[in-house]
Symmetry: C2
Subunit: 430 residues, 2 copies
């Protein structure tokens, strides 16, 4: 018979194993491919969007526009009305990104023809995919806008940026390891969610020798690619997200683990996944967020459109590394003291400290990593996330701090207790 003590150590061991996978993951950018060629189940008539998939009518306006924009971009429909009809009839299928190995930024639209970064976890073999940052314009498909300008930006990425980068990447012989870049970036003021300035530079420097090789054949494309990467301090985010997904999927699936292995949201619900609870998602309505808006916008203008970039917080970055990124205050508000306090709180709900991502201000203490749903429930401390804010009219209108609803963690804890009745009987306090 399994005693409470044994069960407790089952959970402890499982959480420790999950934590170790999270911190030992070794994500490498190995390829850039058309999503339809490599993303499992991304058939030509599928549009992926952020969050746990809902009934079509449940999606808010912005996220719905983004899905429709994706269908139009992919040529699956001629007009928004046509797209809407085909989604209702099942000719176009809308699904969540996560089950396909993808993570969506904001509305997070994926269609078969879009290029994606392919990041492989060299240690555990998992793959994460993410499509490209669309550029510095406030109008982007993933912020719910689809018009000629957005279309042109997407085509430019598809025809120039992605193939050029893919070509350079091929010359890197084995791909570009992301973990060392991410480690350095955290020492250079990035928390790798809302600030990716250093990581973007480090990545460009890494790719540059290979771009030089491509230059002889395609000088124009290389110059454009370099310019595109250079003008977007956010460029690295998608690589970080694909790395986070590969890492989180490597950590997922440890029997008995109560550690969160994904956080995602749609226009309506925030949802989490737990390491030892297979494919179950635990959802709760989104809470209002604490945002700093661009000039001319008010709280009234905020519209949630989804977002899966909290995969980065899941692996110990973003809001969990804020004290490494004081420069963020200008972008998302709050004082350095607020950032330090939020960051310190995250140590109370996590399994351990990252062995590679470390915060200089905390005397190189590792970032808090591996959110234990029971610790969240016991302390009522909500995981914090640094996210971009979309506006009612489409486009980005600011950035700020989002908090994961406690109810997700409460229902996950309940489900865990049902699945592991003995393991849950003891309280883990650290």
């Amino acid at each position: 018979m399994v005693t409470a003590a044994d069960s407790s150590s089952l959970r402890d061991r499982a959480n420790q194993e999950t934590f170790e996978r999270l911190v030992q993951s070794d994500p490498v950018l190995v390829d850039i491919r058309r999503a339809g060629e490599i993303v499992p189940g991304l058939e030509p008539n599928v549009v992926l969007t952020s969050g746990v998939v809902m009934d079509w009518d449940e999606y808010g306006n912005g996220q719905r526009n983004a899905v429709i924009g994706g269908a139009l971009f992919e040529g699956l429909a001629d007009t928004p009305e046509d797209a809407d009809r085909k989604i209702r009839s099942g000719d176009i299928i809308v699904d969540g990104c996560h089950p396909h190995g993808c993570v969506g930024s904001l509305a997070g639209i994926y269609t078969a023809s879009m290029p994606v970064f392919v990041v492989e976890d060299r240690r555990y073999g998992t793959k994460g995919f993410c499509n490209f940052y669309e550029g510095p314009s406030h109008k982007r498909l993933n912020y719910g806008v689809y018009d000629q300008e957005v279309d042109e930006a997407l085509r430019f990425i598809e025809r120039v940026i992605a193939p050029t980068m893919a070509e350079a990447l091929k010359r890197s012989e084995g791909g570009i390891p992301l973990r060392p870049l991410m480690k350095r970036a955290v020492h250079m003021g990035d928390e790798l969610h809302s600030r990716n300035t250093a990581a973007t530079l480090l990545f460009i420097r890494e790719l540059f020798p290979h771009l030089l090789n491509v230059y002889v054949d395609r000088p124009d494309d290389v110059s454009k690619t370099l310019q595109f990467m250079s003008e977007s301090d956010y460029f690295f985010l998608r690589l970080g997200m694909a790395a986070g997904k590969a890492t989180a999927d490597a950590a997922h699936g440890v029997e008995g683990s109560s550690v969160c292995t994904a956080m995602t949201f749609s226009s309506k619900y925030f949802s989490i996944r737990v390491g030892g609870l297979r494919d179950a998602w635990f959802s709760a309505p989104l809470e209002p967020m604490q945002a700093k808006l661009f000039d001319g916008f008010t709280e009234e203008d905020i519209e949630f459109m989804g977002g899966e970039s909290p995969i980065n917080e899941t692996v110990g970055l973003g809001g969990f590394a804020q004290a490494a990124a004081f420069a963020l205050q200008v972008y998302q508000g709050g004082s350095p003291q607020d950032m330090i306090q939020m960051n310190e709180n995250m140590y109370r709900i996590t399994v351990g400290e990252h062995e590679e991502f470390k915060i200089p201000y905390f005397r190189y203490r590792g970032t808090p990593t591996g959110i234990d749903v029971f610790k969240v429930v016991e302390t009522s401390i909500q995981p914090v996330m640094d996210i971009g804010v979309a506006g009612r009219g489409g486009g980005q209108i600011g950035a700020g701090i989002m908090r994961a609803p406690l109810a997700c963690f409460e229902s996950a804890a309940e489900a865990y207790t049902e699945a592991y009745p003995n393991a849950a009987a003891t309280t883990v306090s650290t």
Copy 2:
């Protein structure tokens, strides 16, 4: 008759003017040239070294070796003994860097054939020169070592790196403005003296497009140059120093100013220059420093060999921006709390806050800029500097915090009182 009140406002006005020049300076990298072609007074038989020039016998072992190494490198002598003899006879002339518009890193050796960065202050027209970072080896001429390895590194810079960069720079049409790069770097964890990681990356990115242009003609040299710049996180320091010199010289020479416009040291003395006191230097013996040494070295191994990189502190960077660079603790020791406190103290001895270089941790407060010798004397707060530490056997053995001796400021204050008897009669307290 001039009253005390009027005199005080003369000094206030002069210090304000000095401060404004310091913070409004606009240094631009405009050229890379052989020192002999562009540095005023750098004749073929001259060797420049750090600090106010002393009698030859006064130089410590390491700095003397560096000067002799410079003479050998330049072909001015066949052996160290020959060099020593020619220096004593006056066939080889040893002089300080500052009077020639140069600033030396550590021993700071300049000879006519060495390539230098030419930085021009676009607003005030002054020029600052600095030679190149020698590379990541601990053995370097500026750390008092000259052997075949050091010689090869210097020749490599002369034959490959400098001409390639010069060629790229020519294509930039007008040069590369350094102020915006420095501003960004301070938001990315550099204080731009002992940490230049971000600035180096930003500079490389700025030069990329021009290097691409050169690549077609000189692929090998471009690849090597890129690699050289990429492997040296310190690369930018020399650009920062040349910028600092151009800025400090622009600020120098305001009648009535009691603001320090240069800090420099030789193997023996620390010296400062004051804005309103022309070419006078005020010296005092060096004090022991607070260092973190590489493994295997002890305090006993420290040897001062000179250094003029404190030009960066003179313009509001380095030790005056430590709270922007917590990652430095690993390199030079100390806790983030120490760094914050030292940085805060610097506000008590400076004229104002930099309008462009701002510290995120201090909620984007500008760095303390413009050291007023009277404030130093009144508070007994010593200016702090982040510097590399040389070892008795030559080479770098660590890094740490150096403090400017109070005696320099006391004698400068006395000289000021003599020069401006009425201005000094009142006490400026802010």
